[in-house]
């Protein structure tokens, strides 16, 4: 059953710059998809559209039964808040908030901040004993795990990870990928955007994007 479906999606900036052209993509519930491609291929544009941060110029996009082409900016924010959990390459933790509070920020915009629930999310990524630490007191791998805990806190239908291991050493990369495998095994739907073949091959499926077109889709 398709959780995300893109049909002939195009993104044209200023009426002439084609960032994406006729993208067709389907992601099923529980699937782990890797989107790969070189810099400037259109990965970030596609991520913006899937992550409900931008409207495509044309085509059809369906996420969990919602047509993203038919919603306004306010509704798009609401879909992003309720349906998507985001993991960033640069972690983007608020520097003056503790690990626990960083997780609770996402709860604040979604529903009601709940410290116990946020602590449980940190426990899930093995960081319950680091809850009161500031980001500056955490290693890169730990910061990325806090970022994953924050992405999971609102029970999203889709986890969208942008170069999740881009800033990590090999040991932490393995640790983070292990968490993604666990989430996949639990039935989470995951899309990772990466230029690293090592990260790409961890996913169930992989698509390569070049010059705004999907070059090929393969099953690993």
């Amino acid at each position: 059953m398709a959780l995300l479906e893109l049909k002939d999606v195009s993104m044209i900036y200023n009426g002439k710059v084609k960032a994406l052209e006729n993208i067709n993509l389907t992601v099923s519930k529980g699937e782990w998809l890797a989107i790969m491609g070189p810099s400037g291929s259109g990965k970030t544009t596609l991520m913006n559209i899937i992550g409900c941060m931008d409207h495509a110029t044309s085509g059809e996009i369906n996420l969990d039964g919602i047509s993203l082409m038919d919603v306004n900016n306010e509704e798009l924010t609401s879909v992003r808040r309720d349906k998507i959990g985001m993991v960033f390459q640069q972690f983007h933790l608020v520097p003056y908030l503790t690990a626990l509070e960083n997780v609770m920020v996402a709860q604040y915009y979604h529903s009601i901040p709940d410290a116990d629930e946020a602590l449980a999310a940190l426990k899930r990524v093995g960081l319950e004993d680091r809850a009161s630490h500031l980001p500056s007191q955490l290693s890169g791998g730990e910061q990325q795990r806090v970022c994953i805990a924050r992405a999971l806190i609102n029970y999203p239908v889709l986890i969208l990870a942008d170069e999740p291991t881009g800033n990590l050493d090999e040991a932490n990369q393995n640790l983070v990928m292990k968490i993604f495998h666990q989430l996949h095994d639990e039935g989470h739907t995951i899309i990772t955007v990466t230029h690293s073949p090592d990260v790409g091959k961890e996913a169930e499926h992989c698509v390569v994007i070049e010059h705004g077109h999907i070059k090929n889709a393969e099953v690993s």
């Binding site: 924010t77 609401s78 992003r80 996402a106 915009y109 609102n154």
Partner: protein, 362 residues
């Protein structure tokens, strides 16, 4: 640090606004008191065709205007008496009250003592009576009568007065003495009343006397009232200008600082939006911060403004002022309005931040 700078700007702005408003609020009263040194601000004249009225009417005045600070009320009876064979206009008054009402009168020698048959002469009159050594008149006795065929009484000159006005041609003695000499018991030609009051209050005093004592026609001393009005008017414009300039400077300072804060926190705002913050959430957060800034700055400023106003009042008028809750509330409200307006552009910048910046790694 930036927010601290903005807080400081709001607090300084609120201090000056609160201080200026407090001083302005208190100045009419303080200035009114200062103006009392320049003489009476109300003349009480006979209302009918008669040239005098009964002095007992004046006893009712303090009760009628008990809500205002009465500086003094000096009765005057003017009669032409024969002094050293010359007819001189002589005033009978209460010298204790006269000193309160007309503190600018300058005297060489002393004021007369009651019941002692003593008299003051104006400086011009002194020159007529003692052309070569004017001051030698002090201590000398002069003969006074109501006119030909009346008894001559000997009065001792105790002093010479200078007022810069026509009083320098007159002689002055106690009212009782003059009433007796002129055989006009209880008669008063006019009274000079000095009361601490602005233009509105003075009108109320005037109306109250007019309504309750039909024999008396109160008349404001226009020169004093106009001077007071002019000074207060200029002061009002000055306070208004300073307040507007301070408000504008505070607004610019807070707005610039808030814009810098928004620029600095652009990535954080993008992150919040990526995590699902709506534009409404962003508006509430930044306006909330702005209002908190305004409230705290206004609170600090209203306290410091009172101290500033107290300092000014003590230094300039030598009097302390009372803390006004309404001025404090006004300062806090103005600070809130200023920071609210100053936050509008930064808030607009904040809601235009693209959440996708967190994906581009900017």
């Amino acid at each position: 640090m930036r927010m601290l700078t903005a807080l400081l700007a709001v607090a300084v702005g609120a201090t000056i606004i609160s201080g200026m408003v407090t001083v302005y609020r208190d100045v009419p009263e303080q200035l009114g008191r200062e103006f009392r040194a320049y003489g009476a601000n109300l003349l009480l004249l006979p209302s009918n065709d008669s040239s005098t009225f009964n002095a007992e009417n004046l006893d009712k005045v303090p009760e009628l205007i008990k809500n205002y600070e009465l500086v003094g009320i000096a009765p005057f009876l003017y009669e032409r008496l024969e002094i050293n064979k010359q007819y001189i206009l002589t005033g009978g008054t209460d010298f204790e009250q006269l000193q309160k009402v007309s503190p600018y009168w300058q005297i060489k020698g002393n004021y007369p003592k009651k019941g002692e048959r003593e008299i003051l002469v104006g400086s011009n009159l002194a020159q007529i009576l003692s052309p070569y050594e004017t001051e030698e008149i002090i201590g000398k006795k002069i003969g006074i009568s109501a006119g030909e065929g009346t008894a001559i009484r000997q009065y001792t000159v105790t002093g010479i007065i200078s007022t810069g006005g026509k009083e320098e041609d007159f002689a002055f003695m106690y009212l009782d003495d003059l009433q007796q000499i002129a055989n006009k018991p209880n008669a008063v030609s006019l009274a000079r009343l000095s009361v601490v009051a602005d233009a509105v209050a003075l009108k109320a005093v005037e109306d109250s006397i007019k309504d309750n004592i039909p024999e008396i026609m109160p008349q404001p001393v226009q020169q004093i009232a106009i001077s007071e009005f002019n000074v207060l008017g200029k002061l009002q414009v000055l306070v208004l200008l300073v307040t507007i300039i301070v408000m504008a400077l505070t607004l610019i300072c807070v707005s610039t600082t808030m814009m810098a804060v928004v620029t600095e926190r652009r990535k954080e705002i993008g992150l919040h939006k990526a995590l699902g913050a709506s534009n409404k959430n962003i508006v509430y957060e930044f306006l909330g911060e702005g209002c908190l800034l305004g409230a705290v700055g206004g609170l600090i400023g209203s306290g410091l403004g009172y101290l500033f106003a107290e300092f000014v009042s003590v230094q300039v008028f030598g009097r302390s002022i009372t803390f006004s809750v309404s001025v404090a509330i006004l300062s806090i409200l103005l600070s809130l309005v200023i920071t609210g307006i100053a936050s509008l552009i930064p808030v607009k910048i904040a809601i235009n931040v693209d959440p996708a910046i967190v994906l581009r790694g900017e």
